[in-house]
């Protein structure tokens, strides 16, 4: 069975980009448009790894991660944060919200799959 990845990003371009890269690397990809949508999709699809953007409307990445970590059945799912914001405090904040790791945009498919494989159960 294909490993499943949930990507959460409000930008259509990014969602398609992620899908393109990850599907090409042999993953099954589910997309969500913001944190709230992400929580719903998480329950529906039970992904192996989650990749999320930080800056999103409705529910941002930090809040999304915090919420996921509070859900019993998914509290331990690896979550990678996708960010252009390279400021260290952003990473720290993501980490303290419960992120497993981060990927800095722009990314190439290789970099992305490497990062995913690093945390893939």
């Amino acid at each position: 069975m294909l490993k499943k990845i949930l990507t959460v990003d409000d930008s259509r371009t990014m969602r398609e980009m992620l899908r393109h890269c990850l599907a090409g690397a042999g993953f099954e990809v589910v997309t969500a448009e913001d944190g709230k949508d992400g929580i719903e999709k998480l329950r529906e699809t039970q992904p192996d790894v989650v990749i999320t953007d930080i800056n999103m409307p409705v529910m941002d990445g930090f809040e999304f991660i915090e919420n996921v970590r509070q859900l019993n059945e998914y509290s331990r799912v690896p979550i990678l944060v996708l960010t252009t914001e390279s400021a260290p405090e952003k990473k720290q904040r993501a980490q303290s919200a419960g992120a497993t790791g981060w990927i800095v945009k722009p990314f190439d498919p290789e970099k992305l799959t490497k990062a995913v494989n690093r945390v893939m159960p």
Partner: protein, 721 residues
């Protein structure tokens, strides 16, 4: 989906984000900054930057970066907004939009360093510090990323030996980490021997699944640098105690260690530990107890709550808009087309039922009525799919105002009202150009310069109000400025100079105001030339008429002018006036018909050889014999009979269409001739009437403009016949 497709998506999304950006800045300008708005514009620029980075549009990235930083300052402190900064941000929107265009076309972006520098100065961002921070960030990140690429070379030959001590905190597990993944990663850069210290492990009854009891000591034999080993644990920073030291040489220890392969196999044999939270300690030897507490699925009550419950979560939920889907417009067009067929078919059915002699209360007719209601409802629902708020077009106008202000040195602000009013997309597309020119004119000719305004007791900043509302099945768009109003003396003088009116003409104020719409009043002839100012209002009026609309002006000297346009809500259906002429059934848009009347012998005057005019109240209107014009019939012998429809259209304004009779008024579905046959002069489109008959819809503008031209008579006859 290919990368090219994604690129298309990116530019489509850029367009959306640019409009969000305009909207947001406009909101801040009119009602002051609030955090939600600032966040949303920040996100827009941020997303553009992110996508641009993915495709390597470097100019776009670097300008978006500066722009984003400026917005970040506002985001962190709303009181940082001031007029000068707002002005810069608005200009940045224009520049950003230009860079997006050039990126898309693959041409060189204009130099934006000037504005970028202004932004940096105005927002107190020091470019140097910024770069430094970037470098820091890079130094911070680069190792991981570079390593990821370089790690490929597995099984490095024996080199230096590092001793790695790894003691995870409980928090490491809570973040979805699993020690084994770090070890696996290490195994990619060298030979790893691992030893687990389970000395702190309590008895099973005391064991808390949320605690971390295990420590590892690893030996890594590798040729890589110490930093690379540390980089493997980057994501565990702060979640563990990590020590990395170099030891004397390879293989001087490790006798009681566990080979990583064995270690991994061991884990492989026990994958269910993750699910069960049952740790079977007995399966492991005393010295090498390995437990997979990391991702054990733990009883939920114990899941630690992250610090600070965010009350915003509740509040934001309410704001979620209803979900939307994106559909290719072709699909919607097809649906609308089919809907048109259905309406026609339904009308035909009704007519047949009538002919068959069913009584109006017959069950069959009642069922048909039901169908009719449903059809109508479906029709309006289908039309609603393609309806869009006028907002995007309205938002574009703020740029127009800024540009004209910059070019003329005037100060004016655009205020919007009713921008969520919806109208069919086809109408919106046609609206942009005439609106642009009217707004341009309003600022250029309407608003006075600051000194004149102050002298007249008005605020220095002029206001142009753009508003939209629905009124009796049409959309009305108004452009109101608080400028000087139309200078009637000057307009009249100019019209006389250009020979549009005779010097001794008696004209009401309204007539004079309307002179600006007269052909030849302004010199420029084409509306496509957006960059050139002073495009004639006659061209503007013509393009509004082409949309089935009308434009009016009212002006008060010293107080301003109001241009009001009334447009149909859709271009797919039309309220048609059905007329008979020379045995043909023809349709005229009701919107262009001003009045109808029956010809009386005394009203018709012959001018020259073939031209006739009709006297209506005190105006003479040229008679256009529709049948002759289209080649259906020869010249009429008797002009004392027939019905005239006074229409408004074309450059010259009025025409009296002469037809045999008026049949009635009916909503008709427009069928393009161009896409099904070819373009026919004087004919706008065709339709199918309720009785199944095909009728041509007249292009009123064209007929009024070309009344003396010889039409392609045979052509029309062959289609209509």
């Amino acid at each position: 989906m290919s990368l090219e497709d994604i690129k298309e998506t990116f530019f489509a999304e850029c367009a959306d984000q640019m409009s969000d950006l305009e909207t947001g800045l406009h909101e801040i300008q009119s009602s002051g900054p609030d955090l939600d708005t600032v966040n949303s514009i920040f996100r827009a620029v941020h997303s553009i930057k992110g996508g641009a980075g993915a495709f390597g549009y470097n100019s776009l990235v670097s300008f978006a970066h500066v722009f984003e930083n400026a917005l970040d300052i506002i985001r962190n402190d709303l009181s940082q907004v001031n007029e000068q900064r707002m002005d810069l941000l608005l200009r940045s929107v224009d520049v950003l939009s230009d860079i997006i265009d050039t990126s898309r076309e693959g041409t060189d972006a204009a130099d934006f360093s000037g504005l970028a520098g202004e932004l940096e100065t105005a927002f107190g961002m020091s470019p140097g510090a910024e770069e430094e921070e970037e470098e820091d960030a890079l130094a911070d990140f680069a190792p991981v990323m570079i390593d990821l690429g370089a790690i490929d070379v597995a099984d490095a030959p024996a080199g230096r030996t590092f001793k790695v001590g790894f003691t995870p905190h409980a928090s490491l597990y809570l973040k979805g980490h699993d020690p084994v993944r770090f070890f696996r990663e290490l195994a990619d850069i060298g030979t790893v021997t691992a030893k687990c210290d389970a000395g702190d492990l309590p008895s099973l009854s005391e064991l808390s699944p949320d605690e971390s009891y295990l420590k590892w000591e690893l030996e890594v034999v590798t040729e890589r640098l110490q930093e690379e080993i540390e980089a493997v644990f980057e994501w565990a920073e702060g979640e563990c105690v990590l020590s990395v030291e170099e030891m004397g040489g390879p293989g001087d220890d490790g006798g009681d260690g566990v080979d990583l392969d064995d270690f991994l196999n061991l884990l492989g044999d026990e994958p269910q530990a993750e699910e069960n939270a049952v740790v079977d300690i007995d399966d492991f030897g005393q010295d090498n107890i390995v437990q997979e507490l990391g991702s054990a699925d733990l009883a939920g009550e114990q899941a630690p709550a992250p610090e600070g419950d965010d009350p915003k979560a509740e509040k934001r939920e309410i704001k979620k808009p209803s979900p939307t889907i994106r559909v290719e417009s072709d699909k919607v067009d097809r649906l609308i087309n089919l809907m048109g067929e259905l309406v026609i078919n339904q009308a035909m059915l009704a007519e047949r039922f009538g002919q068959a002699g069913f009584g109006s209360a017959a069950p069959t007719v009642l069922a048909l009525n039901e169908l009719q209601n449903l059809t109508r409802e479906i029709q309006s629902s289908v039309m609603a799919i393609r309806a869009q708020p006028v907002k995007p077009v309205f938002m574009r106008m703020s740029r127009v105002v800024r540009e004209v202000c910059a070019a003329t040195g005037k100060k004016a602000l655009l205020t919007l009202e009713g921008e969520s009013t919806e109208v069919d997309t086809t109408v919106i597309e046609g609206l942009s150009d005439p609106l642009t020119h009217m707004i341009r004119n309003a600022v250029d000719h309407g608003i006075e310069d600051a000194e004149t305004r102050l002298a007249a007791g008005k605020p220095a900043n002029g206001t142009v109000k753009l508003s939209a509302y629905h009124s009796s099945g049409r959309i009305v768009i108004e452009i109101e400025d608080d400028g000087a109003g139309i200078n009637r003396d000057r307009v009249l003088q100019k019209a006389i100079d250009k020979g549009i009116v005779s010097p001794d003409a008696k004209m009401s104020n309204e007539d004079i105001d309307n002179l600006i719409f007269a052909a030849g009043f302004s010199t420029a002839e084409t509306i496509t030339d957006v960059s050139g100012r002073g495009v004639g209002m006659d061209v503007v009026r013509q393009s509004i008429q082409a949309l089935g609309g009308r434009v009016n002006i009212s002006s008060r000297p010293g107080e301003g002018s109001l241009f009001s346009m009334s447009l149909p809500l859709t271009l797919a259906v039309l309220d048609g006036m059905i007329v008979k002429e020379a045995g043909q059934t023809l349709v005229l848009p009701v919107s262009s018909v001003l009045e109808t009347s029956t010809l009386k012998p005394g009203d018709v005057y012959t001018i020259g050889r073939n031209s006739r005019v009709v006297k209506l109240r005190n105006t003479l209107v040229p008679i256009i014999d529709v049948g002759q014009q289209l080649g259906f019939s020869e010249c009429r012998s008797d002009y004392s009979k027939g019905t005239i429809l006074v229409v408004e259209g074309g450059k010259d304004g009025l025409g009296a269409f002469l037809v045999d009779s008026i049949e009635g008024q009916q909503q008709v579905v427009i069928k393009s001739l161009e896409s099904n046959y070819q373009r026919v002069p004087s004919i706008a489109a065709a339709t199918i009437l309720g009785n199944g008959q095909i009728a041509l819809i007249l292009d009123v503008d064209h007929i009024v403009n070309n009344q003396s031209n010889e039409p392609g008579a045979g052509l029309i006859r062959s289609i209509a016949g």
